[in-house]
Structure formats: structure tokens, C-alpha cells
Amino acid sequence: MRTLNLKLITPARTVLEEEAEEVVANTRDGQITILAHHAPLVSILKPGELLIRLNGKEKPLVVAGGVIEMFENTLVILADTAEHVAEIDLERAEKRARELVEKLKEKSKLDINTYTSLSYMLERDRTRIEVFKKWRK
């Protein structure tokens, strides 16, 4: 199978730089699958699962929003955070999600910026939990 070059990068580190046959990502408009030599494409990534396939193996990751660009057979994914499913700490994510729900309940006390950033963090942790449960059965 033909492959594409994948670069998965967050502000803190370069998470992956490798070849892939197929990448499945969740964009704002829905799920897309990108194969080698896909037409140039730019899209906004939603928090969710990112699946990389190579030689019949699947590598699931969780990403929290970002931009995805396909250009000259190189797929660049700029994510806010990205981690392998094996790296997820379920207990921590659940605890944090519970705390965030509590904080968000006191809506009237929060200004709009804090509110959006908290709900963004909550969405991120919920995605982590969801993807973790899907792959760790």
C-alpha cells in the first residue's frame, strides 16, 4: 500500500512523525479518512479519536482540537494536545471531569472566557474517557 507522511505536533512536543496508510480524523464537518496522495485539504479538527492504520495495525490516539493539513502527501496535524490511548490516565480524567462539572454549575460566577475555557477542558476530558473505554474493553 502507498503511504503518506504523518506529522502530529502539539505546542509542547512532536508526538509522531511517521508513515501511515490511512488516517481517520474527526473534523468539524464530520469524520474523514485520508489516504496517501489525497488532494490538498485544510480542515479544523474536533476533540476526539484519531486513528492511524499501517500494515493492518491500528494506532488509536486522542486529540483535543486543532488544524489538519494535507499537502504534497504530507499530513500535518497541529493539535492542542495529543496522546496515545495507552497514555490516558482514566482515574485522573474522570476526577478532573467531575471537578469541572462542579465548577461549571456556578455559571453566574464565571465570566464568559473562563466559562468557554472550562467547558473546552471538560469536553477534552470527556473525549479522553470515551475513547479510553472504547479501546480498553
Binding site: 505536533i9 509542547a12 468539524r28 500535518v76
Partner: protein, 307 residues
């Protein structure tokens, strides 16, 4: 032994203790600096790629025949009424001229436009106190995360300027930070963030020497991207992301510079303490010897008087 020896001894001990503290602070600053420099290098990749994508979108098509609010991010304003400056300083002192150098960059800017027209966002406690005593308008004040390993501590500030700029509350956004060249040299600089300019890219200085940039692939003129959802949404999204990346980069550069200048300041303090301790040791020895000589003189004088 006279009172003089005792006094000198006390001072000697206290100078030596001070030197232990400054030496420890020097070592701590050195290790923090190394980490900050590492982080700066790791972020550069994200930063370059984000710019690359935006460049390619912008060059692939003419698109400015629109009233989209996103347009604002890419055009020089006709009239500048309000400016926002994000100022990076340290939380604590004992870092040499680190903070005053940054403030020196910001103050002419405030004077030029007037105190009311310039809104300041400080990251780091020192900047807030120094600039408010000057009389500047401080809109937001954050503590600086000295050992930042991700961008969570500056995300709010970046979002704030993005919304303010998009909603036309400010016409220009600048970032004042300290550019890290090496352990000996750091430069306080002030750079424009919004609207985007060619020189915006934080971390690349004017002679372009320091950070060799990976050359981004130029887009062919007829390149047609598939945009999802639309290119305005994408540019809008990137405008925020790039601001976050820039501000984060500025934070890391400032951290590296802060620790470097604290390291140098503490090294100088340790060296001075050593010189002072040497001088005091000499003085102590002299005083001790003088006391002994005097005692012998007294004893022998007494002996002569008896015989």
C-alpha cells in the same frame, strides 16, 4: 580578643552564608534555564508549521473582497486608536536588569500613544507593579509560570487579545518579551502580533541568524485547497492558534532569559561575596594578630614592672 575581632568574625560568617544562598540560586537558575531552552526548541516546530499553513492559504487565492471580520487580522489598520501590549516580566526580583529592560521598551510606547489608549496585560508580577507605578492602564495581570511545560498558563491572555481584536476593541496587539540569544545575551524586544506582519514571528530576530527556520514549501499559484468548513473559518481559527503559539513562544523565551539573567546576577553576587569574604578574613587575621601582640606587650610590661 577585642570587640573588633568578634565583629569582623560575625560579618565574615554572614557574608559566607549569603554566598551559599546566591550560589544555590545560581545553580537552580542554570538548570531551569536549560529546561526552558529545550522547551523553546520543541515549540518551534508547531509554530513554523502553523505559519506555513496560513501562508499557503493566504497565497493560494485572493480573498480580500469580503467583509468577514477575519480580514482585520491581515490588514494594517487605517487608524490606530487602541493598542494592547502583553508584557512578560518575572514574578520575583534578583534577576539583574531583566525587568527594567522590558519596562524600558514599553514605556516609550505608552508615552507615544497616551496612557488611556494603551492597554497593558502583564504576565509576571513585577511588570504589574512597575508599570502601574508609572501610571499605565493595566487591564489584566497574570502570574508568569516560570517552568511552563505547556501553554495552559497563557491561553487565557491569548484568547482575550484575540477576542478584543476581532471585536474591534483594539487596533493593534503587541508582545513585549525578552529574546533569548544565549546565556550571556538577552534582548528585550517589542513585536507586533495583530494584525499579522512578516516580522511577527516571535523568536526570529532581525538578522535571522539565531533560529534557522525550516523553509516552508511555497504553494504553487494554482493550488486549490479543499476547505472544511470554509477558508474564513480556518483563517479565523488559525488567527487564534497562531496567537497562542506566539504568546507561548514569548513566554518560553522570557523564561529562558529570566533564568539566564538571574543566573548571571547570582554569579556576580557570589563572586562579590567571595571577594568580600577574602577581605574580611584578612581583616580578621590582622585584628586577631594585633590583639595577641597587644596582650604579649601587656604581659611583658607587667613582668617588667614586677621585677
Amino acid at each position: 580578643m577585642g570587640a573588633n575581632t568578634k565583629e569582623v568574625k560575625q560579618r565574615l560568617v554572614s557574608v559566607k552564608n549569603t554566598r551559599k544562598i546566591t550560589k544555590a540560586m545560581e545553580l537552580v537558575a542554570a538548570s531551569k534555564m536549560r529546561k526552558a531552552v529545550e522547551n523553546t526548541l520543541r515549540t518551534r516546530n508547531y509554530h513554523n508549521l502553523a505559519w506555513g499553513i496560513m501562508d499557503r492559504i493566504l497565497s493560494s487565492q485572493l480573498w480580500f473582497n469580503t467583509n468577514s471580520p477575519v480580514k482585520r487580522f491581515f490588514e494594517e489598520p487605517k487608524e490606530v486608536q487602541h493598542t494592547t501590549v502583553i508584557v512578560f516580566t518575572s514574578n520575583r526580583g534578583l534577576a539583574g536588569a531583566f525587568n527594567s529592560n522590558i519596562v524600558k521598551q514599553v514605556i516609550p510606547h505608552i508615552k507615544e500613544h497616551g496612557k488611556e489608549a494603551v492597554e497593558i496585560i502583564t504576565i509576571g508580577a513585577k511588570g504589574a507593579s512597575m508599570l502601574s507605578s508609572f501610571g499605565a492602564t493595566i487591564a489584566l495581570a497574570y502570574q508568569k509560570n516560570d517552568t511552563a511545560a505547556d501553554d495552559s498558563s497563557i491561553r487565557q491572555a491569548a484568547e482575550h487579545v484575540y477576542h478584543a481584536f476581532r471585536n474591534k476593541k483594539t487596533d493593534r496587539v503587541m508582545v513585549a518579551y525578552t529574546d533569548y540569544k544565549n546565556a550571556m545575551t538577552q534582548n528585550a524586544v517589542i513585536k507586533q502580533l495583530y494584525p499579522f506582519t512578516r516580522e511577527t514571528q516571535v523568536g526570529i530576530d532581525t538578522n535571522g541568524k539565531k533560529h534557522e527556520q525550516e523553509k516552508n514549501i511555497e504553494a504553487p499559484k494554482n493550488l486549490e485547497y479543499l476547505y472544511e468548513p470554509s477558508k474564513y473559518d480556518l483563517l479565523d481559527y488559525l488567527a487564534l492558534r497562531i496567537a497562542q503559539a506566539e504568546v507561548y513562544q514569548a513566554l518560553l523565551e522570557s523564561n529562558a532569559s529570566e533564568h539566564a539573567s538571574r543566573m548571571i546576577a547570582m554569579k556576580n553576587a557570589s563572586d562579590s561575596a567571595r571577594d568580600m569574604a577574602d577581605a574580611l578574613q584578612l581583616e580578621y587575621n590582622k585584628a586577631r594578630q594585633a590583639a595577641i601582640t597587644q596582650e604579649i606587650a601587656e604581659i611583658s610590661a607587667g613582668a617588667t614592672a614586677v621585677s
